[in-house]
Amino acid sequence: MLDVERIRADFPALSRTVHGHPLVFLDSAASSQKPLPVLEAMERLYREYYANVHRGIYAFSEEATLAYESARDRVASFINAPVREGVIFTRNTTEAINLVAYTWGRANIRSGDRILLTEMEHHSNLIPWQLLAQEKEAQLLYLPITDDGLLRMDRLDSLLDERVKLVAVTMMSNVLGTINPVREIVGKAHEVGAVVLVDAAQAVPHMPVDVQDLDCDFLAFSGHKMCGPTGIGVLYGKEVLLERMPPFLGGGNMIHRVEWESATWNRLPWKFEAGTPAFVEGVGLGAAVDYLTGIGMEAIAAHERELTAYALERLSALPGLRVIGPPAHQRGGVLAFTFRGIHPHDVAHLLDREGIAVRAGHHCAQPLHRRLGLTATVRASFYLYNTTEEVDRLVQALEQLGNTLGQ
């Protein structure tokens, strides 16, 4: 059991009032709030030892470099990466996926090859592959979903053959909440020689993730969704693949020896980190990892499961409310719904007037919404600091809204 009251005290933003009501923040799937240890770690660096990292021969630079690189070690152990060289800092999930598409993808995908995605991918795990497929005349395939928002695993074998060179799949859907059987997908993809990239933007913040257990080739996530700052994300990759990939962005830090006409590349992980990195944010992410580890990812996942089951039950009881996605035991803390034909923007807007922050729209998954016959949904999402009382506030506000506007 989490001591949620104590956790909430670590997040200054949660004590605000909005439009005269205590804030109910239900949009952590888009980006989470930040706890004091993260804010303090970043402020300390700025105040006490700020200097550019790498190659500075003086105390500040050495301290900052040490802090940044130790954040990498902590991230590596957080996802159980076998070596720190497999942890590359990027700006976010989107940049991590693009890195793979532009380097591994352009070196390995040829005309006629196939890339297998699923119908529930976020645009950031869709557009980079569309661009690659268009450039290389490769073919995109989609593993379909059921109307309940589960992957049609029975269709996987018929889609997977030697022509599939890459499988890119989300570990948890940011719309349906579905938690996918990634380990099984990786196993089957490897049997036909395909490389697997896992979009773990919604997974790493909310549940234990072990890249060696998954055996995935690449895994991407964002710091800002896991109590860390914006501007820092992670690409995990297997060392053998990363070694063989051409660099992504060119510039300082990613080079070894530079001649007028050519250059050689730095060692991993810096080969993929051109220019001054977001090292203050990296240190912030390290502090976020420490914070989450201190609470325990199993405990966080259990708390969110409980909250999700409760919310699913209460919301489904509202007349005219339809939650999309699978039952509680197959999903994480993301609930997207429609309510009495009221446009999601109106629902979100009116909830905001009651101090409740939810998201409305297509949540960067237009094809998925179209597949479900919807243009937009309202989405409430939970994190370690949310409570059943907040779910009650949401339900109450929806009831009131339904009474005023419902047709």
Partner: protein, 135 residues
């Protein structure tokens, strides 16, 4: 319940004015915003002296876009094509009786997006086309 949803907006949303299609419109206009699903279809018939004689709309979307489209059809009556072309975003926002916050301006402006596409097609003398939108 909310200062945004004024009586006027609710009234126009629940009882849209000039809903439907015209028998022979001169200007036909569509806006389609894939990011939120707001769709507005606007039809205008001009009188012989070039003024707006009849306006009708159909659409699907949030309260603000639908109320704005309904208000819009009333306000365009009697305008000349040049006046339609001179309409600004501020004009349209001004017709709403409450300030529209920045994150909902796009909803309120969807009838104007439709109108501009329709006017451009009218000037070209070609078939009206839905404008491309950023997603």
């Amino acid at each position: 319940m909310s200062t945004l949803y004024s009586e006027t907006i609710l009234d126009h949303y629940i009882h849209p004015r000039n809903w439907g299609r015209l028998s022979s419109p001169d200007i036909v206009a569509d806006s389609d915003d894939p990011s939120c699903g707001d769709q507005v279809h606007l039809e205008i018939a001009l009188s012989p002296d070039g003024r707006v004689a009849q306006v009708a709309f159909e659409g699907e979307g949030c309260m603000i876009s639908m109320a704005s489209a309904s208000l819009f059809t009333e306000r365009l009556q009697g305008m000349r094509v040049e006046e339609l072309e001179a309409l600004t975003e501020e004009d349209v926002l001004g017709w709403m009786d409450v300030p529209i916050p920045p994150n909902r301006r796009r909803c309120a402006l969807s009838p104007l997006v439709a109108l501009r596409a329709g006017l451009a097609a009218y000037r070209r003398g070609g078939e009206p086309k839905a404008p491309a939108q950023k997603g």
